[in-house]
Symmetry: C2
Amino acid sequence: MTYDEGAMSSGQGAFFERLVREPTLSDKAANMILETILSRRLTVGDRLPSERELGEQFGVSRTVVREAVRALVAKRVIEVRSGSGLRVAAVDAAAVSESMSLYLRSGTLDFEKVHEVRRLLEVHIAGLAAERAGDEDVERLAQVHKRMVREVGDIEAAARDDLKFHRMIARATGNELYLVLMDSIGSSLVDIRRENLGSGPTPSTLEQHARILDRIRAHDPDGAEEAMADHIEGVASWWRKQPQPLHEQRPGGASA
Amino acid sequence: MTYDEGAMSSGQGAFFERLVREPTLSDKAANMILETILSRRLTVGDRLPSERELGEQFGVSRTVVREAVRALVAKRVIEVRSGSGLRVAAVDAAAVSESMSLYLRSGTLDFEKVHEVRRLLEVHIAGLAAERAGDEDVERLAQVHKRMVREVGDIEAAARDDLKFHRMIARATGNELYLVLMDSIGSSLVDIRRENLGSGPTPSTLEQHARILDRIRAHDPDGAEEAMADHIEGVASWWRKQPQPLHEQRPGGASA
DNA sequence: TTCTGCATTCGGTCTGACCAACTGCTGTAT
DNA sequence: ATACAGCAGTTGGTCAGACCGAATGCAGAA
C-alpha cells in the first residue's frame, strides 16, 4: 500500500495548492474565485464577473484567470458559456464519478477489492430500497425490467438497462449519495457488465433481477438483500472464470 | 431529486467534452493528451512532451495546450514541475476525495443522508478490520489512541488524531477503496468532528474508541461493528442536539 | 574523477490583438 | 403599442511573441 498519512484533502479551504511547491498565480486565482463564490453565497446558475474583470480584481493577467477557470471547470465548480459568461455550476454526481472512474482505471485496485465494496453497497441499497421504495419507484423498476426482458439480443440496450435497473434501486433509497457512490464504483464495472451480458441478458441475470424486483415490491428488506447478494455474487463468480482480459483500456474516439 | 437518467460518465473515452456545446480546442487538446498517455501506455512518473512540443504536434498554440494542461492537472491526471516538464500523475485517492468533498459541500445533501452512508461504511469497515487487522495495524491504532488520550485540551491535535484513528481502521481492512470512500465522506464531517471534540476529546469518545480498539484487537468483528455503531451514533445524536450551525462554510485562508 | 558554471529547456506570466458567439438596445415596420 | 430586424458592445476562445525564474545537462576547470 502506497498511501499513508497525509493526502486526505481535509477540505478546509485552499484546494488548489500544489503538493509541495508553492502555488502558482493561477492556483491562487482559482482559490480566489472559489472564495468569491463561497463568500458571496453564489449558487448554481449565478453569474461571475468576466475574465477580464476578475483579472483586474485579482491584479493578474487574463491568461492567469483563464487557466484558473479551466481548472475550476475541470472540477465542475463553474461552467462557461462562450459569449455569455462564467456561471456557478452544480458540482454534481458526475464529477465525483468521473474522478473515481479515473482513479479506478489507473489500475491500483484489483477486481476483488472493487467487488467487495460494490457488494456491500448494492446489498445494503437493495435492502433500503425494499424498505422505502414508493409505488412509482417500483413501477419504474418494473418497466425497466420488462423492457430488458424484451432486449435479448441487443447487447447495448441490455447493458444500458441493466445499469439503469441498478441505479433505480439506488434511487429508490431516497438518498442520492448512494446513487453517486454506485455510479462511481459501478462505472468501472460497466465493461464487465457488458461482457457479462454477452449476447443479451442471460436468463440467470433476468431471473435474479426479477427476484430482486419482487422482494422490493413486497417491501421485504432481507429478501431483497439476499437476492441482490446472489446476483452480485453471480456476476463476480462469472468474472472470475473469465480469461482475465483485465479490461483493456482503449482510448475512446474523441472529437476532433 | 434533480438527477436522473444520464450523467453517469460511463468512463469510456472522451472525458473533457462539454455538456452541450461543441468542445473547445483546449478540450480536444486535453483529450489528445489523455490519449497520448493511454496509447503509449505511460505510467505514473513518465514524462510527456513539453508544452511547446505538444502544441506543435496538435497544431495549436501554447495557450491552448496550457489550458488543457491546467484541466488535466485539476483532475490529477498529470503533474507539472516548473523547469522540468509534465509528468503522468497518480490519480490518487485525494482527487476523488476532493471532488466528493466539493460535492458534499455544495449543499445538496443534508446531514442525515451523509450520516446514513457513513454509518454503513464505518461499521462495516470496523468489522472487516477486526477480521483482518495484522499486529502492526493494531499496534499503530493503539498508538494513535494512546496519544489522543494525552491530548485532552489540544483540540486541533485531537481532531487530527480522531480522523487518523478512523482512517487507520479503514486501512486495516487491506482494501484501499474503503479508505478512499472514508476520506471522501468523512471530509465533510471534519468540522463536525472538530466541534464535537469541543475542548478536547470527551471521555465518551475516548471510551468508545477504546472499545473499538479492544474489539479489533480481539478480532471480534461483531463486537467491533457494534462498538463502531455506538460511536457513530453517539456523534450523530450529539450533532442533532446542536443549534444547527449547518456547518457554515468559510473560505479557508488561502495562500498568497 | 569531481565540481563548478553557463547555455539550454521548460513552465509561469504578461501584453495586445482578433474572431465568433451571445446579449441587449434601438429603430423600424406593422 | 407591439414585434421584429439589426447593429453594437460584451464575453469567451485562440493566437503570437516576449521575458522571467527554475531545473537540467553538458563542458571545461580543478
